[in-house]
Structures are given as C-alpha cells and as structure tokens.
C-alpha cells in the first residue's frame, strides 16, 4: 500500500482527477443500477423475506425483503448466481483505470484496506504472441460444496438458503482454517484494526454486509445479497464499464448485467461457460464465459492498473466526511442503515 500512496503522490493532479471522475461514475452507476433493477422488477422482483441462517442477524432482512405482500406467494427460494463474460473483461486497461469492479466493491462495501473481495487477476499467455494477458475477475465463488464452510470449527461461515456463503464476524474466532481451505484464495483476514468511515464503524453489526469490519475476523465477497434482494445489482456489476458481470437467479433462470435481461441457462450453456476449478467439486455459483476481452475496443495499450486501486478510508477517517464522499446516503439501497442519518 505504501507503493500506491507513493505512486499517487508522484503522479499528482492527473491521478486525482481520474479518481474524482471514477468516484462520480461510482455515484451515477449505483443509482442508475438501482433504477434498472426496478425496471427489471418483472424478473427480479423480490418475494418472500429472505431468511439468513443465523437468526440473530436477520433483523435487516425484513427491511430488505420488502414487497412480500405484493409479490406472488411462493415457497421458492432464490439461488443467486453470477456469470462473468470474459470476452468483455480487459481488466479496465482500455479505460486506463484500475479494475472498476474491484474499485466499486471497495468503495461500496467499505472493504478494509488491502483486501480485494472482487479481484481481477492477470494471466499472461502467448497465444497469439504479443497478445494482452487474460484478465479474470475473481469474486467469492459461493461454492455449494464450500471447503471454507466445511472446515469452520464454530459455524461462523455458513450457507444462506439462497446459496451464498456468509461469515458471522461476531462468532468467528479467527483461526483462519477457512483461508487455508479456500482453493481460490478468496478470503481475507483483518490482521489490523480495520479502517472504515466512522459511520460504518459505529453502525450496528449486519452479517449480510459485513459491517462494521472487526479485527481478528475473516471477510470476503458476499454477493451483495442485500442489494440483489432490493432489486439492485452488486457494486462490481455496477462498476463494470462493459457489462461483463451478470447476476441472476438459478431458480427463476434469469440474469442481468444492468443493461439487458437474459435467460441464465442460455447464457451459461450456449456460450460454453465454465466454472473455475470445476474438477475440485466445490460447485461454484459463478460461471465464466471464455474469452479475453476481445469485444472491448482496443484503441490504447495501457498497463493493468491494479496497483492504483484505492481504499480511501484512512483519509476519510481523518477528514470530516465531505460532500464528494460516495457514502451510502447517496444510494437508497445502501446497506448501512445508519449511513442515511450521517448523510
């Protein structure tokens, strides 16, 4: 992280402008995404309050799972899934920004510094020679046969009925066996006292949004199910400039990237989608459509800018919350209840 700061200092104003630009985009996108989610309501309208497995923590579920009275009565349960269209992912090198899925996730979920719940990795290859490297966004795969859930000694990490894997940071003992067990390196530990904006740290604990973060516990991508249930998209999907990230419901067989609504099974099967490390038998809930960003126009050749990702919480916690801060107050579906009071 020291490198990042040095870099920002050296590059000076240009970088700051870039940051402001992407932050503004962040605000526009997440509001826009929520609106589209409502449009997509025919497909993604929420029915039934979702039960989070741990009853201590489902207080927020009723607020989020609104519409239970107007929706059709059904006992069917959502089965959240994600599809990544790798043909549209170039790691944001064309735009000359850090990977925006990661960046939006960091900002939206108040990800503690250094962690990348949604992480874009680069895989160099020589086919054809000189081709740009493959880039691959890695969220938590929400495995149905999750090694992390299997090994947890205290049941702090668990499956929700909708099939996502959550962590109860109030129960986690910090043994890190789940980190050792995860074959995708998708789990992160709060080694230090996590730095987050004050209003996040002061908010009551919510297991679904993992806020506030706590020292000595494990965190990871949670699929933003609070946003999905409210008809929105996770922050990463909002952030993707090329619409590469689809979220949907296996039960209803529908998915959207915020621009189009598609039949999930067709998206998976007709494009030859694969799951990462299928052979391990972890049954991930994330599919990848093979590709290497070929649908992204390649007018510039820029560097992969993962090292420019930012976690602005350190600065925010020392400054009073400014109007430019993309706090949760900007978004009606924000996950931190106390955020609106703050804003």
């Amino acid at each position: 992280m020291v490198d990042l700061r040095d870099h920002l200092d050296r590059t000076g104003g240009a970088t700051l402008d870039q940051r402001e630009l992407t932050r503004r985009r962040f605000l526009n996108r997440i509001v826009g995404g929520a609106a589209l989610g409502t449009l997509a309501g025919a497909g993604l309208g929420v029915w039934g309050g979702t039960a989070v497995a741990d009853e201590d923590h489902d207080a927020g579920a009723d607020e989020m799972g609104h519409g239970s009275e107007e929706g059709p009565t059904s006992t069917r349960v959502r089965r959240w899934a994600m599809v990544v269209d790798l043909r549209r992912c170039d790691g944001c090198v064309e735009n000359g920004t850090p990977p925006q899925c990661t960046q939006f996730c960091n900002w939206g979920r108040f990800v503690p510094e250094g962690q990348q719940w949604m992480e874009v990795v680069e895989q160099p290859h020589d086919d054809p020679p000189g081709a740009p490297p493959h880039t691959m966004p890695l969220p938590c795969f929400q495995c149905e046969n999750a090694p992390c859930v299997n090994v947890c000694p205290v049941g702090a990490t668990f499956h929700t009925p909708e099939g996502t894997v959550l962590i109860d940071q109030e129960r986690c003992i910090g043994c890190r066996l789940c980190i050792a067990a995860c074959p995708y390196d998708r789990r992160f530990f709060n080694w230090d006292e996590p730095v987050q904006p004050d209003w996040v740290q002061d908010s009551p604990y919510d297991v679904r949004t993992q806020t506030p973060a706590m020292r000595g516990t494990v965190m990871k991508c949670d699929f933003c199910t609070d946003r999905l249930e409210a008809g929105g998209l996770p922050f990463c999907a909002n952030g993707c400039p090329w619409g590469a990230l689809y979220f949907g419901d296996l039960e209803e067989d529908i998915a959207t990237n915020g621009r189009e609504i598609v039949k999930l099974s067709e998206l998976i099967h007709e494009q030859g989608a694969f799951r990462y490390k299928e052979e391990l038998g972890t049954e991930p809930r994330v599919w990848f459509i093979p590709g290497s960003g070929e649908t992204v126009p390649r007018t510039h050749h820029r560097e992969f800018m993962k090292d420019r990702l930012e976690w602005p919480w350190e600065e925010w916690s020392t400054e009073p919350a400014g109007p430019t801060a993309p706090g949760p107050a900007a978004d009606g579906h924000a996950e931190v209840g106390s955020g609106s009071e703050h804003g």
């Binding site: 299997n150 205290v154 986690c172 910090g174 890190r176 067990a181 390196d185 530990f189 709060n190 000595g216």
Partner: protein, 443 residues
C-alpha cells in the same frame, strides 16, 4: 561399554535400593546454584515471550509476518512441533510398559514430564494464533464436529488429561515414599502436600493390585489417544485442498514424525537430567543405546514415508505439484528443505546407525539434529503450501517478526522450566518400579 559395569564392589540388595532411593529423592531437597540460574534464565525468556504475546493481543496479529496468502506460520509450525514432542512420553512409557521392556524404568517419568510440558506449550500455540482469543469458548458453544480444529481440541485435551492420570498413577507409591522419607521438621508444607497426593498409600496388597490394574488400563488407552492426537493435527492440513497437504498418508506420517522427534527430545532431556541431578548411576549409556535403537527405527520409517510422499507427488506432477516441488527442491525453500533432509534426517540416521557414533555424545548430537530438523520440516510443510499461489498471482512471502520469534523461544524456555519444576516437585525416577526390577535382577 566399560561404564556399564559398576566400578564399586557389589553391595547388598537392600543397600542398593536405599542408595538408589537416596539418589532419586535428593533433587527434591537439594538445589544447586546451577539449577537456580538455569531456571531463572528460562523463566526470563518465557516472560519475554509472554510480553511479546501481550503486545500481539493489544495490537492484533498485524504484528506478525502473516498475511492473507500465508495465514499460518511460526505458531502453527511450533504447534505441530510441540505436539510431536509430546508423543515421546507416551510412546516410551506406555508402549514399553505394554511390551514389558525392563530398561525403560529410569526413563519413563522424565518422558512423561516432557509430554505434559510439551502439550502445555503446544496447546498454547493455537491460542496465540487465534485472531479472537477472547472468543475461544465459541469452540464449546458452537463447536462443529465436522471441523478438524474441534477434533484437535478434543484429542489434545483428552491426551493431556490422560497423560496427567498416567503420570500420576505410578507416582503414588513414590509420593508416599517422599512423604515417609522427608524430614517433617524441615519441610512441613511439602510433606503435607505429598501426604495429600499419596492418597493414603500404604502399599498393602489390595492397593498394589488396584494400582497395577489402573496403570495397565491407562497405558493401553493412552496409546490410542496418542495416535489420534497427531493424526488429527495432520488432518488440519490434510483435509484441505492445498497442494502438498492433501495427502492420505499425512496421519501416519505425522504420527511417525512425532515419535521420531519425541524420542529425540527425551534423549536430549535425559542427558540434561543426568548431569543436573547426578543420576549417572541410574541412567546409564545402555539407556541411551536402547533409545537410539528406537529412534533409528522411527527415523527409518519416517524417511521411508517422506520418500514415498514426495515420490508420489513428483511422479504424477500436476502443475501445482511441480511448482511446489521446484520451490522445495531447487527454489526459495531449498536451503531449508535440504537442511532438514541432510542435517535433520541423513546425518542423524548415520550417527545412530554407525557403530563408531553409537555412544552418548553421538546419540545426543543426533537427537539435537533431529529436533532442529523436525522443526524445519514442520515449517516446510506449513508455509510453502500456503505461499504457493492458487490463483494467477506470484508466490507470497513470509518472514516472522520478533514477536513470533520471541513467543516461539518462550515455548522452549517454558518447556524447560516446567520440566525442571516437575523434576523438583516429585521423584524423577519411579523408585518402586526400579526396585522391583533390581530385585528381579533386570537392572
């Protein structure tokens, strides 16, 4: 071999017994300055480690060199090491008792002391490693039997309890002896303590019968628990999908490794006790040679398992296996790996096998090397498999901080301190068993 023959004229059986009892009870009442200095040093190192731990508790695990890619390091390595050492007591004491091996007697109790001290130090490590030690009780409140950590908790606590009982039972007649022999005027408190602990032992026939029965049951039970302990420790690694960990032989591999390092630890302890408490007449070179035989067998089995494990991985050679083996054999972990392989495995085996070095200095040197080597081996099992990237990223780095080094050092000092303390508190040698054997002409 000349030392084997007692130089003095052969005294009568009763005299010999009395002299032996004197020698064994002497450390209880007489304390030399060397002992005090050594114990003070150990306590100081231990206290420094505890201070380091308080720093870590205050500031979190960020003070360690651990990171998300390498979430385990020195603490877990040290945990496996001490649980390994703890196998010594039981293996030597219980297995040899079941086999009715006569020469074991002077060695068993110090081995049992080491078991208990090693378990306490080993058991401390997971607690140090926890991100939220304040939530330790969650293991009881929400414990899931599907998790290897819960198996560990159960196995280690069972082993500690069993080892304490197994230490205590044969100790009862010795405590009674200490109660009867200690001068009540100069040691009133200790005498009363021994009286309580001796639970009214008078050595009548019924008591002996019950004691023998209890010991017999315990020594069979404790062997099973011993095997289970290091098996489930290995399963913390073996039950994951990590390259280098996901192996079916990890259970027996770890158990044999534990016996190998455990016997070596007992030999090192023995030479220290012999010197500090002047037990040269009771612990003879013969005992070292006998233990060296056991050590050699355990080492050969361990070498075989090591070979078998790496050959199987290397022959199929999946890409990740290739990366791991490259790093171990030729890459960044090669210095550690070959230090273990040569100095911790090959050289000790040669020292133990060759007739010129099958003497006390040679055996002790081999034992020290085995322990150093096995600590490195546990590190080489724990860290590289974690540092190996599972996604397209580079190798992760890990370097321990002074906090981790201090706490690991504290476990060694704490181990020595605890064993030293136990040796002062209760008779170090089972006098009645030794006497029985002297009568039977075994020793």
């Amino acid at each position: 071999m000349a030392q084997l023959v007692q130089a003095e004229a052969v005294p009568s059986a009763d005299e010999r017994r009395l002299r032996m009892e004197e020698a064994v009870l002497a450390p209880l009442t007489r304390t030399g300055p060397g002992y005090v200095a050594l114990m003070a040093l150990m306590l100081a190192v231990f206290a420094w480690g505890v201070y380091a731990w308080t720093v870590q508790l205050r500031r979190g695990l960020a003070v360690t060199g651990l990171s998300d890619p390498v979430p385990w390091g020195f603490y877990i390595t040290n945990f496996v090491f001490w649980i390994g050492v703890s196998h010594a007591g039981t293996f030597i004491s219980a297995v040899l008792r079941v086999g009715n091996v006569g020469w074991r007697t002077p060695v068993v109790r110090m081995a049992e002391f080491m078991t208990i001290a090693a378990l306490l130090m080993g058991g401390w490590m997971p607690l140090v490693d926890l991100g939220r030690p304040d939530r330790l009780l969650n293991l009881l409140n929400y414990g899931r039997f599907q998790s290897a950590i819960v198996w560990d908790l159960l196995a280690i606590t069972t082993y500690l309890t069993g080892s304490l009982i197994y230490l205590y039972l044969p100790l009862i007649p010795d405590l009674a002896l200490a109660r009867d022999r200690l001068d009540p005027a100069s040691h009133p408190l200790r005498r009363r303590l021994y009286a309580v602990l001796a639970v009214g032992w008078h050595g009548n026939e019924e008591q002996w019968r019950r004691l023998a029965r209890g010991i017999r049951i315990m020594c069979v039970l404790i062997i099973g628990v011993m095997v289970s302990v290091h098996t489930v420790v290995s399963w913390i690694f073996g039950m994951t999908l990590r390259t280098g960990w996901h192996s079916t032989i990890f259970g027996p591999y770890f158990v044999v490794g534990a016996i190998w390092s455990g016997i070596a630890a007992v030999i090192v302890g023995m030479v220290v006790f012999r010197r500090v408490f002047h037990l040269q007449g009771i612990i003879t070179p013969r005992h070292f040679v006998h233990l060296a035989n056991l050590l050699l067998v355990a080492g050969l089995v361990y070498a075989y398992l090591t070979f078998s494990e790496y050959l199987t991985i290397a022959y199929k050679l999946e890409p990740q296996d290739a990366d791991l083996l490259n790093a171990l054999f030729l890459g960044s972990y090669a210095p550690l790996f070959w230090t273990y392989g040569v100095a911790g495995m090959l050289v000790p085996l040669l020292l133990l096998a060759l007739p010129w070095t099958r003497n006390v200095p040679g055996i002790v040197a081999a034992s020290v090397l085995v322990n150093v080597g096995m600590w490195i081996k546990r590190y080489v099992i724990t860290v590289p498999s974690l540092a190996l990237p599972q996604i397209p990223e580079g190798w992760a780095a890990y370097a321990p901080t002074w906090i981790e080094i201090s706490i690991v050092a504290a476990t060694f000092a704490g181990f020595a301190f605890l064993v030293g303390l136990m040796a002062k508190a209760v008779p170090l040698i089972p006098t009645w068993e030794l006497a029985e054997q002297m009568e039977a002409g075994a020793e």
